[in-house]
């Protein structure tokens, strides 16, 4: 027995799917890459100018190639993640902010390599973090190097699976080279992809040249792809929930088709941050009440395709000043987890994910641990139905004196109070924010690097070549075998 937030009926799921197929067939997608347009045309799509119309048959063919079971391998196999997830999703940090908010002063500044390293160390320590998104960019290095460096720095400071952004072929090439060097070659990397890659189409229905070519290159190397739709109702999608779902799903199916044309075996994860544009600013509205419902709808669509999903990102972005606001955060996480997404990346972000804070990471992880506890599944058996005990107690009696009650109580009923923290110091008299800061300091001062020395050496060796090449090739597009 486990709770699931379902938003669509079976018939509605099918209607959304059909609508998405029609969008791809009749409206099509705009693809800035001639290589990707050719790849799609070679598989039966019609390409005219930048617009590619994808026939229903091609979408259906891609769906038949979906892999339901995906392993996100970790540099340390003890941290491998096997999808689909079980009771609650695997959780990661939020990602790719150019700023960091100092966990002590609250001041915001450009993020650096050492900030990213600190986030990786704290994330490595926290059990609540199952995999790592490079949460901030090392912005002191040139932009052309940042996505590569994000992976390199992360590999040096966490043993967990890393989910990177990758928006150019040259970065993709070097990310693959780096990971291959660590696992022992490109064939081994296909078996043990220690990183996966997120990549977002530009809503609505647009694919930037370098980003979609990078997606093809990564797919060809067997790297799990996590293409994320970010359509927003009323700006980049219709101002209707149904229309937004159809658009989100169309973008996901378009990504699936591109990836499967490149490599039918490539693992793909259905990822969505479809939401509603803010009524005044037009920005992403994480607080919109429609957001968890759109997430639930996308999770159902992913299940319809037997595809693992990452649809329940729930940036909390609020430092709880007291238990009541911590509970609010916990319940928001519960709502997101109820979608039964397999992955969720949201810990630590602030200011609409433009920045990140270590203290926020710790309190978000705390909320996450409580939410996981609330959402565990329950057995349904002769023993748990307890008909014999019910008969024995009979009408008017009570169950307190029964061994069955005593035996099951602590196992089945959640007894831990919200103030019995998992991560924060329970014995402290300080406020929650103060305890979060103390925890960050404790982790950073006590944690030695957990990454093996030879791995760090390998990273540095590849990184030296990568830096030289990327720096020289600024603005140069890399020709991949994937297109030949």
């Amino acid at each position: 027995m486990k709770a699931v937030l379902e938003f669509l009926t079976k018939d509605e799921v099918e209607r959304i799917h059909e609508a998405s197929v029609r969008i791809l067939e009749e409206t099509g997608i705009r693809v800035y890459s001639a290589q990707v347009r050719k790849l799609l045309a070679d598989h039966g799509a019609s390409a005219k100018d930048l617009i590619v119309k994808i026939p229903k048959g091609l979408v259906e063919d891609a769906i038949t190639k979906i892999r339901q079971d995906v392993t996100l391998a970790a540099p340390d196999p003890a941290y491998d993640l096997r999808l689909p997830s079980d009771d609650s999703p695997f959780v990661a940090t939020s990602g790719y902010s150019p700023f960091v908010t100092d966990y002590e002063t609250g001041n915001t500044r450009g993020s650096t390599t050492s900030d990213l390293a600190a986030f990786a160390i704290v994330s490595d320590y926290l059990d609540a973090v199952d995999y790592f998104w490079p949460i901030v960019f090392p912005t002191e290095v040139p932009p052309v190097l940042q996505e590569f460096e994000a992976l390199a720095v992360s590999l040096k400071h966490t043993r967990k699976h890393i989910q990177c952004s990758c928006s150019s072929t040259r970065t993709a090439h070097w990310q693959i080279e780096l990971a291959s060097a660590i696992v022992g070659g490109k064939e081994e990397l296909k078996k043990r992809p220690i990183f996966s890659a997120t990549n977002a189409p530009i809503a609505p229905l647009t694919f930037e040249k370098e980003a979609c070519e990078a997606m093809v290159m990564l797919a060809s190397a067997g790297i799990p792809l996590v293409p994320m739709t970010m359509v927003l109702a009323s700006t980049t999608a219709p101002a209707t929930v149904a229309g937004t779902l159809a658009m989100a799903n169309a973008e996901e199916l378009a990504c699936l088709v591109i990836i499967k044309c490149a490599n039918p075996d490539a693992p793909v994860i259905y990822a969505s941050e479809a939401s509603v544009a803010h009524k005044i600013t037009g920005k992403f509205n994480y607080d919109s009440p429609e957001y968890p419902l759109l997430s639930a709808g996308c999770a159902q669509l992913a299940r319809f395709y037997n595809m693992p999903s990452m649809v329940g990102d729930v940036p909390l972005e609020v430092m709880p000043g007291d238990l009541l606001s911590l509970e609010r955060n916990v319940l928001r996480v519960v709502l997101a987890f109820l979608t039964r997404t397999d992955l969720s990346a949201f810990l630590g972000s602030v200011d609409l994910a433009s920045s990140a804070s270590l203290a926020q990471l710790v309190v978000d992880a705390e909320a996450c641990e409580h939410a996981r506890a609330y959402l565990r599944s329950f057995d349904l058996s002769e023993d748990t139905l307890a008909l014999d005990i019910i008969a024995k107690v009979g009408p008017g009696g009570h169950f307190l004196g029964q061994a069955h009650t005593k035996n099951h109580f602590r196992r089945e009923i959640w007894t831990r109070g919200l103030d019995e923290f998992f991560i924060l110091d329970r014995s402290s008299e300080n406020s929650i924010p103060e305890r979060a800061v103390a925890k960050v300091k404790e982790i950073l001062s006590s944690c030695k690097s957990t990454v093996k020395f030879d791995l760090a050496e390998t990273v540095e060796e590849v990184a030296r070549d990568a830096r030289e090449d990327l720096w020289q090739a600024d603005g140069w597009s890399f020709q991949s075998e994937a297109f030949s």
Binding site: Y32, Y96, S97, P98, F99, T108, R109, G110, F137, T139, P143, V144, Q146, E147, S167, I202, T206, E208, S234, T235, T236, A239, A277, H278, K279, I280, T281, G282, K283, F284, D351, L352, S354
Partner: protein
């Protein structure tokens, strides 16, 4: 003579009724109403009212944008008539705008361009993936008062700085005011790279642009 039409035109623009706006403007012009009067009494008050309603959060973004679209339709019909009479539309200022090189995000920038245009600015929208040299050349060509640089990616926002450096290199930095925007862009970033202004959203972009012109 077309009577009581200004209120009707105000309402049509406010409601974002595109065809009705066009029909009303056309009828007014056919009936010989002075185009400058149509602009000043029929159109501008409607946009001012839309701005007030938006400020009060009684209007939301889609309603504001639709009103701007209606306004633009009206202006398109009125401009040639104004030109014929030698009275051109009053231009608040000239703005060159675009998304920086390496970034093809279009929508946010286009909304800003549309709002600026509806507010009376002459807008030169250079589109997306615009090289720094193109920005600089266009600023020079049209003698722009303001240059708006949009970037939606953390990796491309750095290009905003490069454009500013290029303007400085060409000795043009003090000739144009610079506004930067886009999802990852913050006020701190704007200050760091030496921009003159930062706008969090389209409505603020118009405010900042107006302030820049006023302070010139």
């Amino acid at each position: 003579m077309f009577g009581g039409g200004f209120e009707q035109l105000n309402r049509a623009i406010l409601e974002g009724a595109l065809e009705e706006t066009e029909d009303l403007v056309k009828r007014m012009l056919e009936e010989g109403v002075n185009p400058l009067e149509v602009m000043n009494k029929g159109c501008i008050p409607a946009m001012e009212k839309a701005g007030e309603l938006f400020e009060a959060e009684e209007f939301f973004l889609p309603e504001l944008i639709m009103a701007s679209e209606a306004m633009k339709r009206a202006v398109k019909l009125l401009e040639p008539e104004l030109a014929k009479r030698g009275t051109e539309k009053k231009i608040i200022g000239r703005v060159v705008i675009g998304t920086v090189e390496g970034d093809v995000h279009d929508i946010g920038k286009s909304i800003v361009a549309s709002m600026l245009s509806a507010a009376g600015f002459e807008v030169y929208d250079l589109g997306v993936d615009v090289p720094g040299e193109t920005f600089v050349a266009r600023v020079k060509e049209v003698e722009a008062d303001i240059l708006g640089l949009s970037a939606l990616l953390t990796t491309t926002m750095q290009r905003q700085r490069e454009v500013i450096e290029l303007l400085t290199e060409k000795g043009m930095r003090d000739k144009v005011k610079l506004i930067v925007g886009g999802a990852p862009v913050t006020r701190a970033w704007a200050e760091k790279i030496g921009a003159d202004g930062y706008a969090e959203d389209a409505v603020n972009a118009v405010k900042v642009a107006r302030e820049m012109i006023a302070s010139k």
